[in-house]
Assembly symmetry: C2
Homo-oligomer: 98 residues x 2
DNA sequence: ATAGACTAGTCTATAGTACAGACTAGTCAG
DNA sequence: CTGACTAGTCTGTACTATAGACTAGTCTAT
């Protein structure tokens, strides 16, 4: 019981950060989402969202595909397998402790 | 559904911080705990734990009673009513989003 | 008495961090 | 040519956790 609580001390901060948690939670339900959708759904500023996405990509939790809608840039994001695992583990830790 | 996720962006960081989340989670199950117990149960350094307890006290989430065990200082901590509410609300937000 | 362990805490220094907002670069419509 | 759209970089600010050294007092043992 108290062991469950101790695990909170080692949660992955990459995913624990609320802004990024919003992003991965959104992606976990959706398979793919573009930048616009994440921007509107999270309420984060574009600059901030961009930085968080880069960090999640660097961590290997999110895959980012840059393409075009017509001639406009289009950024498609999805959760990687690893990202899904990490989120699932995070859920377990949080649920167990709370 | 997505509204639940948006709420993650406004979680109370006082309680979201893992070190403090451990403390309040421990206190929520226990009614009262001394410094030693929290120190051992969380694995935080004494200095760090002391700072977090002060912040939780300042936020009104934890009440701290300084007394003595024999002639040694003894610090007793408990969750306030407000602290209990905030934790309960935090739980709801997290559960809804995950 | 002197050294060491115990209580809890303050303080300092380090290192990391999110975030807003300004800016870039390209495309398009009027 | 102006203004809106795409996504992103970059800068500056401000906050933050954390370890570890240190304080002050009490106790035990040598």
């Amino acid at each position: 019981m108290s062991a469950d609580i101790q695990k909170l001390g080692e949660v992955d901060r990459m995913i624990h950060e609320p802004a990024r948690l919003m992003v991965v939670a959104l992606l976990s339900a959706v398979k793919e989402a573009d930048f616009q959708y994440l921007h509107r759904s999270t309420g984060l500023s574009k600059g901030n969202l961009s930085v968080h996405l880069s960090k999640l990509e660097e961590a290997g939790y999110v895959a980012i595909k840059k393409t075009f809608r017509g001639k406009y840039p289009l950024t498609i994001c999805r959760l990687t397998e690893r990202g899904r695992e990490v989120l699932e583990n995070y859920r377990k830790v949080i649920r167990a402790a709370l």
